[in-house]
Chain length 250, copies 2
């Protein structure tokens, strides 16, 4: 609903390790630009998980029999499969090729329950999703306020596949400060007709937009969005998770 | 993968009517900014459909018995339901409340087969999706080249719901010029590890990003994306439609 937006991948965020003060990294990286209260910071899940210590050394994992069997069948690491099963509240599909799609305790439906080997520094570890990504976003926002005096909204992003469409897109798994869903129902559209069923998942669109500026190859895990006219809200990205009884695709 | 992007909703696009030269509207609206070959223009499906005459007067529609029954049961317009059935290659779900989720001939799985009453000027008509949205995008791109000398990439967007998540997001139903899917498999990530399963649906992310700058309430159907380093491709957004036999959620 804004007419001009700018997306800037913040430079110079170092490799994040457990216990690091991620907000300080972000504040330092944004110092040249200057954070504003009306900005949005989109931060990838990976660096949030690392800072929060949601990292498991694979050597410490004892795979159950089911994990060993699945891993053997598809050439996976049984310790990773074990972590996926641990992080899953419910298995949605165990698919050809070894992919496991599950629903996490947060209600997120995604591949491998968000357990990720691909981008962890020493190669023998996995990152898990934050325990409560909305709390992670709130804490990051508060700490940024302490460090910089500005409290931009915060979105924590992760890349998810979707049914029916190829490729992954970034979605919001956590947020703080902004309305994750923008409800336009009842407002007139351009033709003056009342819109019936238009609730926009703005936090997801912010996450996707940020992926165009940051991205997986470049080490650019934080993107500043300037010019998006968000409205304040106490809701987090948990509001994006559909209630099971409303879902047409349980 | 770019580090700084700008999104600008083009001002002054008039109400589009069947037969209008949409490319000329866009060229005029972008004259102040100046189009470049490396820009992306994200255009909403609605104005493309209108320009192409994909508009049906409801008075001309004869609903079949099934459409009348479904409409009566859920308080819908039977003529709209008839158009939804006509535009569907396959019904995926007919849900509580009257929502029909179907697969269109393009392979798109969406609500009401893209048939939309909400935003048509005179109120007694419906817009249908373009017959071949990738061709629409190619034609728009070529005509822009003729009019302006610049051939930015073109993405045609529409708003879709998703399983498991609340709210709608914009996705790409058509595209021309750019790689709709960016395949990072085999490239090293920030930790030097080869990425295994990372194909990014960049055209969808562009569509979502544009929705933040344009939007349904404002009459801003065209958004210019500047600074996104897309790669040229002959593929269209049809490449985003998953083959039925690869899909885990048929």
């Amino acid at each position: 609903m804004s007419e001009r937006l700018e997306l800037v991948a913040l430079p110079g965020i170092p490799e994040v390790r457990p216990g690091d003060d991620l907000a300080r990294f972000i504040a330092d990286a944004a110092a040249g630009i200057g954070l504003r209260d009306d900005d949005v910071l989109v931060v990838t899940q990976k660096v949030v998980s690392k800072a929060e210590g949601r990292v498991v050394e694979l050597a410490s994992v004892q795979p159950r029999e089911e994990a060993r069997a699945w891993a053997a069948r598809w050439g996976k690491d049984p310790r990773q499969v074990e972590l996926v099963l641990q992080e899953s509240a419910e298995i949605v599909r165990m698919a050809e090729g070894g992919l496991i799609i599950s629903r996490t305790r947060h209600g997120l439906v995604c591949a491998n329950a968000g357990v990720d080997l691909s981008n962890v520094g020493d190669g023998e570890a996995a990152t898990l999703l934050p325990v409560e990504p909305d709390r992670s976003a709130r804490e990051l926002r508060e700490r940024l306020g302490t460090l910089t005096g500005a409290q931009p909204a915060v979105v924590i992003s992760d890349s998810f596949g979707r049914p029916w469409r190829n490729g992954i897109v970034n979605v919001a798994i956590g947020s703080a400060g902004l309305e994750p869903l923008v409800d336009l129902r009842g407002q007139p559209d351009a033709a003056g007709r009342e819109m019936q069923a238009t609730v926009i998942a703005a936090a997801d669109e912010l996450a996707s937009a940020a992926d165009l500026a940051g991205g997986k190859v470049a080490q650019l895990p934080v993107v500043l969005v300037r010019g998006y006219a968000w409205r304040p809200s106490d809701d987090g990205a948990a509001a994006l998770v559909m209630d099971r009884d409303r879902d047409l695709f349980p």
